[in-house]
């Protein structure tokens, strides 16, 4: 079965650089969630989209922005990177906003030097 695809899987950036993370949800899933998992931490919700519209924001810094495109893939744009942004970034998709279950991608490991 198709799964959530994230690219790149690993990314190394310098401080103050920008990064773009991509997420391709499972086909026919219209809802995407982004989570950030710091080292040894639990995943923290960043932002979500439903039918290409932002549906909620969590603890997402103002330096970050995201959008969902017409094909339902989503991109998380991160600017002015800081050391503390080093983390695993997960995308999850759901077949409907209110159906509860989320399917997670493999994550993008971002390292900021």
């Amino acid at each position: 079965a198709a799964g959530v695809i994230q690219s790149p899987r690993h990314l190394i950036k310098e401080k103050r650089e920008t990064a773009t993370l991509k997420c391709y949800p499972i086909p026919r899933h219209d809802t995407v969630y982004w989570y950030q998992q710091g080292p040894g931490q639990d995943p923290q919700f960043l932002i979500s989209f439903y039918e290409k519209m932002q549906s909620d924001k969590g603890s997402i810094p103002d330096r970050f922005s995201a959008q969902q495109f017409s094909d339902y893939h989503s991109e998380l744009n991160m600017s002015s990177l800081e050391l503390g942004d080093s983390a695993l970034y997960f995308c999850a998709s759901s077949p409907g906003r209110d159906l509860g279950e989320q399917f997670f991608g493999p994550g993008t490991r971002l390292t900021v030097l």
């Binding site: 809802t31 969630y33 989570y35 931490q41 639990d42 995943p43 923290q44 919700f45 979500s48 439903y50 549906s55 909620d56 969590g58 997960f90 999850a92 759901s94 906003r97 209110d98 509860g100 279950e101 989320q102 399917f103 997670f104 991608g105 493999p106 994550g107």
Partner: protein
């Protein structure tokens, strides 16, 4: 806002021992409950979920969990663990269906399980 509390940070068991990981949540409304497992270096995989109905739910790999509404708990159990169960386990909740809005997951801090052969 929801919150999730997992009681144990690190659990060490011998193979064939029984497992119970505690999870309590705080939320005033209807919730969906989940247990996810994260093997070293891998992504989150769903072990089991509870939306409604029978409070005893069975998941993959012999895991089960019981939802006790009066205690706001959703403890994970397995009668006999294997070395391959070594992983980190996260309890998570989101709100049950209630119309517009987002259904993001709130996770507990996770419990690391180490199974000794």
């Amino acid at each position: 806002a929801q919150s999730v509390s997992q009681h144990n940070h690190h659990v060490i068991l011998s193979e064939a021992a029984s497992l119970e990981l505690g999870c309590n949540y705080s939320y005033g409304g209807t919730v969906n409950l989940f247990w996810y497992v994260q093997y070293p270096g891998q992504h989150l995989q769903l072990l089991l979920k509870y939306f409604s109905g029978d409070p005893l739910v069975k998941g993959i790999k012999g895991f089960e969990a019981e939802f006790i509404k009066s205690k706001f708990s959703f403890n994970l159990r397995k009668p006999s663990v294997q070395w391959s169960d070594t992983a980190e386990y996260f309890c998570a909740v989101n709100r049950g269906y209630s119309g517009a809005g987002s259904y993001q997951l709130t996770f507990g801090k996770g419990t690391k399980l180490s199974v000794i052969p």
